[in-house]
């Protein structure tokens, strides 16, 4: 019954007029961003992070979370209507969704994507609520050795998702960890890697780094290529599902939801991995796999449910263990720290209103999205015709003003330009910035836990191998690394990224 009273507290927080407003704002902005190809949830959170500073932490997190799951809804709209993924987790939705639209069933595809996402969102919210308390209690028993190994596991997990070379992804983690060392060392007070710049004494700003690597760098690389959009001009009609479509898609929604909820919790998991896996599962389990890619509604229902479920359950490791499982959640972790909240097991006990309010707001936000999304489709489609040459200066303006407001100084803006240049170099070298951001967020915590662990064991590293949980995480990390490096799996991984 404690769960019920907790949820009651959550809803009390989530339906306060101000939080409802920010939930709606987040969900709408998220959908908008999801619709626009080229700007994903990571970029949006990076760009809007400073704007949330003025808000109380609960409202800020509610809005940022809304952006994340709103983007899952919006991304599917673009995939279905334009055949360009609005964002990465909707890539597979293009395959069957756009074919459905060509056959005049675009309305039905949008409906099942929205309903499936809503069902998945509700289910994942319950999973989050049920799992959070026991996991946080488990986390309280963690010592520094367990934490260090767990973080290592989380970092290795992010390598699995990074496309391209394994060595480069590992290097990006190390680079991120090193960048996280910039600033004043907490234990000794020594300045590290500050090059005598006083502004760097507090560390390299998270907002500057994230905005440079994702916001500025993406603008530059988008300007290098010409993009073409081919929007389906035909009128959308027939939002109702036929009896057969309903019968086909209901089990797919269920399978996608379960799969997404599970994969979202794992490190390296999240929306992208889940939608790909769900598509594979649907195709493999179908009696007529040849109809996939030609407009099979199961190919929309499964992945769309999976990505939304995963978007929500990926909050579990962040809120209970303090480990962001993927780069979007690393941005959320950064946002929490900026608001003075240390992600981890203490969030539930120290900030129950924030924790349960965030969970309840996810349900509220999903309800808003399913009610608003279909009626607003016309507006989203019109937005797609706004040319990029008008859009990117607007993004830059938001970035720059937001950056100034972080510390009320212009140093951060110049620093972001530098980070943008750095991001561009990495982009040209095919190095993905996602593992770097994860390393950057986890770096200081990892160092502190390593130091404390080694201090407790008086310099004996066996503390990481003799404590069962710590050993388990280390073994899992090693297994994951070996698995990714094995030639057979490497091949199928490469295939999966191509598809």
């Amino acid at each position: 019954m404690e769960l019920l009273s907790n949820l009651a507290l959550g809803f009390e927080t989530a339906v306060s007029p101000m939080n409802l407003l920010y939930c709606l704002a987040g969900a709408l902005i998220g959908t908008l961003i999801g619709v626009l190809p080229g700007i994903g949830p990571v970029q949006t959170i990076a760009i809007l992070l400073p704007t949330t500073f003025a808000l109380p932490p609960v409202s800020a997190l509610i809005m940022l979370a809304g952006i994340y799951y709103g983007a899952q809804y919006g991304g599917s709209t673009t995939s279905i209507l334009v055949n360009v993924p609005g964002e990465a987790s909707s890539v597979v939705t293009c395959l069957d969704g756009h074919q459905m639209a060509r056959r005049g069933r675009g309305g039905a595809a949008l409906t099942i994507a929205a309903l499936g996402s809503f069902f998945a969102g509700c289910f994942a919210t319950v999973v989050l609520a049920l799992l959070a308390v026991p996991l946080a209690e488990l986390a309280f028993r963690f010592g520094p050795a367990e934490y260090f190994s767990l973080m290592l596991f989380g970092l290795v997990g992010s390598v699995v998702l990074a496309s391209g070379s394994l060595l480069k992804a590992v290097g990006m983690i190390l680079l991120g960890l090193l960048l996280g060392m910039i600033g004043t060392d907490v234990t000794s007070g020594a300045h590290r890697f500050t090059f005598g710049v006083p502004e760097l004494a507090d560390g390299l700003g998270f907002v500057s780094l994230a905005m440079g690597l994702f916001g500025i760098c993406d603008i530059i690389s988008s300007l290098e290529r010409r993009e073409k959009r081919d929007i389906l001009r035909s009128k959308l009609a027939g939002f109702w599902l036929s009896r057969k479509e309903l019968k086909d898609s209901a089990p797919a929604v269920l399978r996608g939801t379960l799969l997404g909820s599970l994969l979202g919790i794992l490190p390296g998991g999240g929306a992208i991995l889940s939608s790909f896996t769900a598509y594979m599962v649907e195709k493999k389990s179908s009696r007529e796999p040849e109809t996939f890619g030609k407009g099979n509604i199961r190919g929309v229902a499964g992945p769309e449910s999976a990505n939304n479920a995963a978007a929500q359950t990926s909050f579990v490791p962040l809120l209970t263990l303090g480990i962001p499982p993927n780069v979007v959640l690393a941005m959320m972790a950064g946002a929490m720290m900026i608001h003075g909240i240390q992600p981890g097991p203490r969030v539930i006990s120290n900030n129950p209103a924030l924790f349960w309010g965030l969970i309840a707001s996810m349900w509220v936000g999903n309800l808003m999205l399913v009610l608003l999304n279909l009626p607003l489709i016309g507006i989203w489609v019109r937005l797609l015709s706004v040319p990029y040459r008008l859009l990117y200066p607007a993004i830059l303006v938001f970035c720059c003003i937001g950056l100034y407001s972080v510390n009320n100084n212009t140093f951060d803006i110049a620093l972001t330009a530098l980070c943008g240049l750095f991001g561009y170099v990495l982009h040209k070298l095919d190095c993905e910035p996602a593992p770097l951001i994860l390393g950057f967020v986890l770096g200081p915590m990892m160092e502190e836990n390593l130091r404390r662990g080694m201090l407790l064991s008086r310099g004996d590293p066996s503390i990481f191998f003799t404590r069962p949980l710590a050993l388990l995480f280390l073994v899992l990390s090693a297994a994951l690394l070996v698995a990714v490096a094995l030639p057979g799996i490497r091949q199928s991984r490469r295939r999966a990224f191509k598809e």
Binding site: L174, L223, P393, C400, I401, Y404, A417, L429
Partner: protein, 155 residues
């Protein structure tokens, strides 16, 4: 000799440069012992790992064989213009204020596009300035100077 994978070599060089710099700087800090780590211990270890990885990438990439990748193609124009527009904004914001520097940012950044239309850019700039003022100054109440600062005249 033809380089098998130029991208890997360049990445390796980048990792080596960062790793060696980190090691060098960490040596200037107290390293300490495994039981009592100084501020330099963890960064030094990271730098060592990163350098080793960089060296591995360079060696792997240099191994001649059939070229598997190309030198990355660069387009300097969007890169320079976007970076300059951001840097310009950071220099201009305090002396000129929000209105003017936002307009400058939009106009300069628009030069990076494939086609530049003056009228359209000016309308875009005006619209964005209006949105920014309403959103950031009136709604969110950010403390940002709107116009040129008067302190310029005083010493």
């Amino acid at each position: 000799m033809r380089i098998g994978r130029p991208q890997d070599v360049l990445t390796g060089v980048l990792f080596l440069a960062f790793g060696l710099t980190a090691m060098g700087l960490a040596l200037g800090l107290r390293i300490g012992t495994a039981a009592r780590m100084g501020p330099g211990y963890f960064p030094f270890a990271l730098g060592l790992l990163l350098s080793a990885l960089g060296a591995l990438l360079v060696v792997k990439g240099l191994r001649s064989g059939p070229p598997r990748g190309e030198w990355p193609a660069l387009k300097v124009r969007p890169l320079l213009i976007i970076l300059c527009s951001v840097l310009l904004f950071s220099r201009l914001l305090i002396p000129l204020g929000l209105l003017l520097s936002t307009a400058v940012l939009v106009v300069v950044a628009s030069l990076a596009g494939h086609e530049f239309r003056l009228r359209e850019t000016l309308i875009n700039a005006a619209a964005l300035v209006a949105i920014v003022v309403v959103l950031f100054v009136y709604l969110l109440e950010f403390p940002i100077p709107l116009g040129p600062s008067l302190r310029l005249a005083s010493p």
